[in-house]
């Protein structure tokens, strides 16, 4: 099926057959071209970004409201952290540095809470501190919620079972001070009590005196600095819970410097799954915020994949059917395309 005139007569039209606008068109070609035209226009017209925002809102908002959860299986990294805490003998001394703030709390708070639950369940001594000024209220909230309320039956005592050293400025220098001489950095705890008067501080002088360092990290100063300025010299075992963007930077330190990492909300959800399996009292959905947040994450990821694929299809089509001042591809009758400023006349 051809749409061009045939015959021996030569005309100006025939002379122009080399032009794409005069080439014989197959119906499939027409469909592909016009479909391509529409899609290319769609892409070239730059879809209003508010439609994408709306899609993202729905992708995240609906699962948040429905609270749909999915089963998680702990990966090797998460298992390494979980098993190490399990294998420590009860009463081991664990320093937990919660270096994050409310901006990243949605991602990191579930793993901070899970760490506290696990440590308290195993009867370890918990020493909390932070290098981020906005973290103190979050730590107070978590300790109230987990150590005081959830473990009320254990009657965990401040100063004997857990304590909060508080916030300390100085970033990497503060980390180095913890590694060398913790008491010089923290003369008192967060409540202003001298460390000399706190029973569980007996025998604690530096990071070397701890059995494990747990770091919940949102950036600088955080996990990488703890590795570089503290655990590399003290050789204290260390495990990390971090944001998704930090994860790739910390993989090089596994397993020599870092036992394992809980990366992003998925890491938190996997840890919650491991904790619920071992300690069924934590299997309640309301206690598993990480697992709950994997629902919105699933739909957000799917939307992202669709957007990336759609964007690339449009890109390929725009390359195959480039918009030009005469219209699109062969069909020069499309006069609705405005010539680009500075383009060919």
């Amino acid at each position: 099926m051809s749409s061009t005139p045939s015959g021996p007569t030569t005309s100006k039209a025939d002379d122009d057959q080399s032009s794409p606008s005069r080439q014989p068109l197959h119906w499939g070609h027409l469909v592909a071209e016009n479909g391509g035209y529409l899609l290319a226009r769609l892409g070239a017209a730059n879809i209003d970004r508010r439609w994408i925002f709306l899609l993202m809102l729905l992708a995240v908002g609906i699962p948040v409201l429905t609270k749909a959860t999915f089963p998680e299986k702990p990966t090797a990294n998460v298992k390494a952290v979980f098993n190490h805490i399990e294998e420590l003998k009860p009463g081991s001394r664990v320093l937990v540095s919660m270096d994050y703030d409310p901006a990243s709390a949605a991602e990191l708070n579930p793993m901070a809470v899970s760490f506290l639950r696990h440590l308290a369940s195993r009867g370890h001594k918990i020493y909390l501190m932070t290098l981020w000024p906005a973290a103190s209220p979050l730590i107070n909230e978590n300790t109230n919620e987990v150590l005081n309320d959830e473990f009320a039956e254990k009657n965990l005592e401040y100063g004997k079972d857990w304590m909060f050293l508080g916030y300390q400025a100085g970033e990497v220098v503060a980390i180095k001070k913890v590694a060398d001489n913790l008491r010089a950095l923290f003369p008192t705890d967060a409540r202003g009590t001298s460390l000399e008067k706190i029973p569980m501080m007996e025998g604690i002088h530096s990071l070397k005196d701890f059995d494990l360092l747990l770091n919940v990290s949102a950036g600088y100063p955080g996990a990488k600095e703890w590795v570089q300025y503290a655990t590399t010299t003290t050789r204290t075992p260390m495990a990390v819970g971090c944001t998704g963007v930090q994860g790739p930077q910390l993989y090089p330190y596994i397993p020599d410097r870092v036992l394992g990492i809980l990366a992003a909300i998925k890491g938190a959800a996997e840890y919650e799954a491991a904790l619920s399996e071992k300690y069924p009292r934590f299997a309640e959905p309301r206690l598993n915020e990480g697992l709950q947040r994997m629902g919105p994450q699933l739909w957000a990821h799917l939307l992202m994949i669709c957007l990336i694929v759609a964007g690339n299809i449009l890109y390929v089509l725009s390359r195959c059917f480039p918009l030009n001042v005469y219209g699109v591809g062969a069909n020069s009758h499309r006069a609705d395309v405005t010539p680009a400023p500075g383009g060919p006349a």
Binding site: P102, A106, A169, G170, D180, Q297, L302, A310, N312
Partner: protein, 213 residues
Amino acid sequence: MVVSFFSPRLEWMSAVVESWFLILAAIAMLLGGANLFMHHSNLIYNQKPGWGYSALTLAGFLITLVAGLLKLGVPLTPQFPEHAWAGSFEEQPGVIWWLYEYIIKPSTSTMFALLSFFVASAAFRAFRAKSTEAALLLVTALIVLLGRSYAGTILSAPVGDAYSFAALTDFVIMSVINTSGQRAIVIGIALGVAATSLRILLGMDRSYLGADE
């Protein structure tokens, strides 16, 4: 500090420098506060464009400063009931607690959450396979996006855990490709820092003093 790394007997030198650093950091915080106050006061006084934002910044700064220093609204502590200022400045229902709970928390969380919208928009507009490298990055991103969600678990169920998207993400992309690349970068940076430090220590590089070379 460098010397103290090589001899335990000289560790005190490092400790002294670290203490100086901490003191200077505290003074720098004061200087920073004073600088912020003067800069924004100047903008407001001269009514420069956007001075309204400066007024808001200054108001927030002063309210937080006064509420924290005076421990406004902080309850009495059971240990020291006769001392009104004995409680922590962050305690409920103090003004600082209120500011943290109802201004800092929601605003910073919102800022972080907005990223998802911009990332989605950027993914659609900019994440194009324009070259081989970009195509590789794109395929990797798709695998990681699937591997870090339940969608990957469902899609790779027929092939088993060993070949799942999660395993591909963890054991191939993150543990092999990413780790080797990151290690190369870290080692390269460390060598660069060591070389630059040596040049400075030996006086071969004086650019930090304002010299041409």
